[in-house]
């Protein structure tokens, strides 16, 4: 899923400083699971904004709305009346959701309330880790299901760099595992180390031509 982190309160306060009626719009899919932008987080941010403005003796009306998926027009359309009643929108969805809102309500400023960070998974309660770089040319079949594109700090394709720390930790962070040590151990376990010995030529950096577009195959 897509992982995001809420922007700092100060930044959000600055974004909506000129407005007196603001809608906080959440998304119940990815960002809800990573505690950044679901219905609960919408309620928290709305309360924080009301409190902050009240402390500054500045008037504000904060509306709240959450849709199932903010990256789908049909679902966003469900909250169009609430959007119409606000001067500006803070979207707590990923960048895709923010843009869907911004495109549908072109006359309204739509601000991001979260920073979209990566595609990942929950490692433990409250901790999410990056797993996929959406490179458009999946390499996982050759690496025992460990992605070197994003889990190696340098995105190397032919083995570890010379900076691996003792115990197989990453050059840039002793808390992180070296992806290539993980790949080695996984392939060794499966008796498939020959895959690691193969040479892999440079990746096609334009496997996804930006901006990306995927057309479903016709049935």
């Amino acid at each position: 899923m897509i992982i995001a982190e809420r922007k700092p309160m100060e930044e959000i306060k600055q974004l909506i400083a000129p407005y007196k009626k603001v809608l906080v719009a959440g998304c119940e899919t990815c960002v809800a699971v990573c505690w950044a932008g679901g219905e609960k987080e919408v309620g928290i941010l709305a309360s924080q904004l009301r409190l902050a403005r009240s402390a500054e003796r500045s008037e504000i009306s904060v509306l709240e709305a959450t849709v199932e998926r903010q990256c789908e027009r049909e679902m966003v359309a469900e909250i169009k009346d609430k959007v119409a009643g606000a001067e500006a929108v803070i979207s707590l969805a990923c960048g895709s959701g923010v843009q869907t809102m911004a495109e549908m309500f072109e006359d309204k400023p739509v601000f991001p309330g979260v920073n979209t960070t990566f595609i990942g998974m929950p490692e433990k309660e409250g901790l999410w880790v990056e797993m996929c770089g959406a490179c458009g040319d999946c390499f996982l079949d050759r690496t025992g299901g460990v992605c070197p594109i994003v889990r190696c700090a340098k995105g190397l394709l032919n083995g570890p760099c010379g900076g691996t720390r003792k115990g197989g930790k990453c050059e840039i962070d002793p808390e992180k595992d070296c992806a290539w040590v993980l790949i080695y151990r996984r392939l060794e376990k499966q008796g498939r180390l020959d895959l690691m010995r193969k040479y892999y030529p440079p990746k096609n950096a334009r496997a996804v031509k930006r901006p990306g577009k995927v057309q479903a195959a016709k049935a």
Binding site: A153, K154, G155, L156, L157, N158, G159, P160, C161, G162, G163, T164, R165, K166, G167, G168, E171, I172, C178, W180, V181, I183, Y184, L193, M196, R197, Y199, Y200, P201, P202, A205
Partner: protein, 297 residues
Amino acid sequence: MAKPFREILKTKDFVVTAEVGPVKGSNVSKAIEHIGLLKDKVDGLNVTDNQSSVMRYPSLGICLLIKEHGGEPVFQVTCRDRNRLAIQADLLFAYSRGISNVLCLTGDSIDVGDHKEAKQVFDLDSVQLIHLVHTLNSGKDMAGNELDGGIDFCIGTTATPSADPLEPQLIKVEKKLKAGVDFIQTQAVYELDELKRFTKFVRSIDGKVKILAGIVPVIGAKMAAYMNENVPGIFIPQHLIDELAQAPKGTGVAKGIEIAARMIKQIKEEKVCDGVHIMFIGREEKVPDILKAAGLL
């Protein structure tokens, strides 16, 4: 004029290279001083490429200075700051100006340097970079286009003999050897046994490649601890840290030189590998002292 490094590698029993670290700024007088001091005492002078991800005068620029002053430069190229177009262009330029040795490296992460918010490139990795140089050497660019005037680089690369775990590192070394390199310059080694184990592995795959052991003198126990913590790929054993800690105050540099020279002597006497590459970063003027102490001058 200095002898081409490829010839040196073929003919000399014990090859010695050193490093010239580019300056921070446009004043190259210090680098010229180091070149003058070292060019006739060693067989080749490596020039680092934004070493430790710290922005400096370019490797290519110092390589040209070495050439102008009659030395033999080894152009270090990392994959961190340039994509495949920029690397190919730099290699063509270097060769056209008489630089014919290239050391292919991955490059440290941007995170360890002084421009931590920069976008790191890594369009290629070091194995792919070696393949790229061979492609250019064959008269074509990476896209398969013919080159008008090709190149013929002597190719080197690096390895970390003291990596832990070692096996994944050795698989990478094997790929580099299969891609084809003339020499391997190791990351700093402090344990002879580790170096022996590494050379044995390399020899089992490639009998011709020359191995130069990396020598990084350490001049104090605190510095050693700092390096272990902060310099990627450096593993200084505790017994050396203890030896440094016991050195009387003010004798750290002398002790560091003594330890480095002792290692070089052992490597040479026991014929562990084909030579050494001395990296005395920031103290290039002390390299001749190491050479003297090791009986190489």
